[in-house]
Symmetry: C2
Subunit: 394 residues, 2 copies
């Protein structure tokens, strides 16, 4: 009988990824994914670049590379991040196989079993499971409309042993779509200084803003090298290519490079070259602007459909960007039960409880994705879902 490691034996697959398997049924309208819209992928541009790579540099695109990533891409990413104030003299930047890998490798180099990681509650399941896979103590700090509750966070830091890491998604948070205020970003950084903590800032959505004003990242205010910044091209180019990046202090950087080396040697060379060409010779900002127009329409369509069909029984705050609308049933109702009923009516959503540190804790919330479905399906799906809600909420 094989004994699995303590860190893995209780870890379950992500609920969402299990739900996604069910939504392979094409008659299900799915708001469960976190997928970008395929119509927003820069497919034509990538096809052109692909031809260039095959004709000019197939050798490099298919050979082994170094674990830090394709050097010209690292430079392009550094230049791009500089626009947002990210990257100090003490920082370096590496390419990883998607933002998820940046999170997992950061956890691996920093955390011993039993160490404490504090996350927003609710938070991104993929990250929570990455932390759990190192058998650590995961504690959630309540998330308010303008970001994590700072007082509660400080109390949690003080009342737990071996707190090492704060995991935060300050902008268009997954699952809530909320954005942390500038004041709270500063306060979080002060807490990290005060208690000698590292902040893992997960920032895959910030370029998808549809309204409101840009808020600087925590990393851009990081004077003491306390922030590991994880970025991703999944939401602004395409997730299937698995290209992301990590920007952090050099000593942490060099440990993450070693962890990357033993994990998958390096990221897919062809797509590192592809992304570099796209950043260098194409109009990524123009393409993102077009994507934002499409996603804004979808967000607004979803909100309008809820207003129209749900009789006020599903409340939400309009997110200023990202991929998700976080909805809540009236207090006392269970989002998990609702999602089961909705599934039977062929509309899929993810219950709020799935994003909790303790998944068994009842939540009145559900997460709806608006980036993937068409506006037609958004209308049809929200009408269906609202029918279920109205039966459920008496």
């Amino acid at each position: 009988m094989t004994q699995f490691s303590d860190k893995i034996k209780t870890l379950k697959p992500s609920t969402i990824r299990e739900i996604l398997k069910v939504t392979a049924d094409p008659t299900v309208i799915s708001f469960a994914a976190g997928n970008p819209a395929p119509e927003c992928f820069p497919t034509q541009q990538m096809e052109e670049i692909s031809k260039k790579i095959f004709s000019r540099m197939p050798g490099a695109a298919f050979q082994y590379g170094i674990s830090e990533g394709y050097a010209p891409l690292r430079e392009s990413v550094k230049a791009r991040m500089k626009r947002y104030g990210i990257g100090k003299d003490f920082d370096d930047c590496m390419i990883v196989s998607g933002g998820q890998q940046g999170i997992e490798l950061s956890a691996k180099v920093l955390l011993n079993e039993g160490d404490c990681v504090i996350c927003e509650q609710p938070s991104f399941i993929g990250a929570l499971n990455a932390f759990r896979s190192f058998n650590i103590n995961l504690v959630g700090a309540p998330l308010e409309q303008d970001g994590v509750d700072i007082n509660a966070l400080e109390n949690i830091i003080k009342s737990n042993k071996n707190v090492k890491l704060l995991y935060l998604i300050p902008t268009f948070q997954n699952p809530t779509g909320r954005t942390m205020s500038l004041e709270k970003r500063k306060a979080v950084l002060e807490l990290a200084d005060k208690y000698d903590l590292i902040i893992l800032e997960d920032d895959p959505y910030f370029e998808l803003r549809y309204s409101g004003e840009f808020v600087p990242s925590i990393k851009s205010m990081d004077k003491n090298g306390r922030v590991i910044y994880c970025g991703s091209f999944s939401k602004i180019i395409a997730p299937g290519i698995r290209v992301g990046y990590v920007c952090c202090r050099e000593d942490i950087f060099s440990k993450i490079v070693v962890a990357k080396q033993v994990s998958d040697v390096h990221t897919n060379m062809f797509y590192m070259i592809m992304v570099n060409e796209y950043l260098t010779n194409y109009d990524i900002d123009g393409d993102i602007a077009k994507t934002c127009v499409i996603y804004k329409e979808k967000r607004d369509a979803m909100a309008a459909a809820i207003d129209k069909f749900a009789d006020g029984k599903l409340s939400y705050n309009l997110p200023e960007g990202g991929l998700f609308l976080w909805c809540e049933l009236p207090e006392g109702y269970n989002g998990f039960e609702l999602c089961k009923l909705a599934g039977a009516k062929k509309v899929a959503a993810v219950p709020g409880s799935s994003f909790g540190v303790d998944e068994s804790q009842v939540s009145p919330a559900l997460r709806l994705n608006f980036s993937l479905p068409s506006i037609e399906l958004i209308n049809k799906g929200i009408e269906l879902l609202s029918g279920v809600v109205k039966d459920f909420v008496k």
Copy 2:
């Protein structure tokens, strides 16, 4: 001051990957890599397939996929492996981001800190570092010409606590090029049964055979699900695409899938589709046969050059396949010192000590790669290296 995790804080970058950075100097003749020859990459075929993917299924190629990997590729790999007797009813097969990831994820799901892993001595640095990155007890069993010393292996199993895993590269081993005999493969499997151990069989080279006869994998004789089989397309298609596979018992499989999910979500979709098309509609076996002709010529050229130039001061056994020629200086001479002198003469090789469990232990060996350099450079480089050897060995 950041405290790194116990598992990572003492881990250093692979010596080889550090050497490779030095060999970026184009005037250095490098036998240090483990790279396949770029002239063997099926570049034209991949270019054709790439066009097809862009015209027929760009959506799927760029969207999120499931962590197990692209389903048609999993089926193609299963069918291909069946030819070699790999894959029983209790097994399943997943796609990973290169063979290295198969090793790292297996280690993660099986090993607690302090558990014991036994490897051949010498062995593949990438795997040894992956094990080290989980803070385990790594013990080497002596490697003979026909594979690991079975008696020594059993003694090591008996004299160490919490032995969980045997890590073996039975065919064209890295770094020695040696192949384990059928008898020893059976004996190793018996030991695994007797002591309730898992065997991690790393088999990236077996299709690159230039002489001698096929020896069945340990996995093909695995009646009790004791073997995790890690395969790779790095040496028979191209390493830059980072596509490999793992075949193992379903309960281990499902844990590795969860670990994969938190590590990088899934492997690059475009290249999973690419590999599947190549396996399905192209002549990979014919292409491998052509690669074998080229590598055999290079192997033989390197051996002939050593015979011609080294005055018998560099001994070797001709490997029947793979990428490496393992050479030894006369006893008492230090391969590491030799490699330093050779580096100064602009010829790079990896000292045998780098492949040891204890890298500080002196070894008279060096590993020479023959797949990457041209025959012209092989001749020139071996002449240079032999000059250094003849000065060094009095």
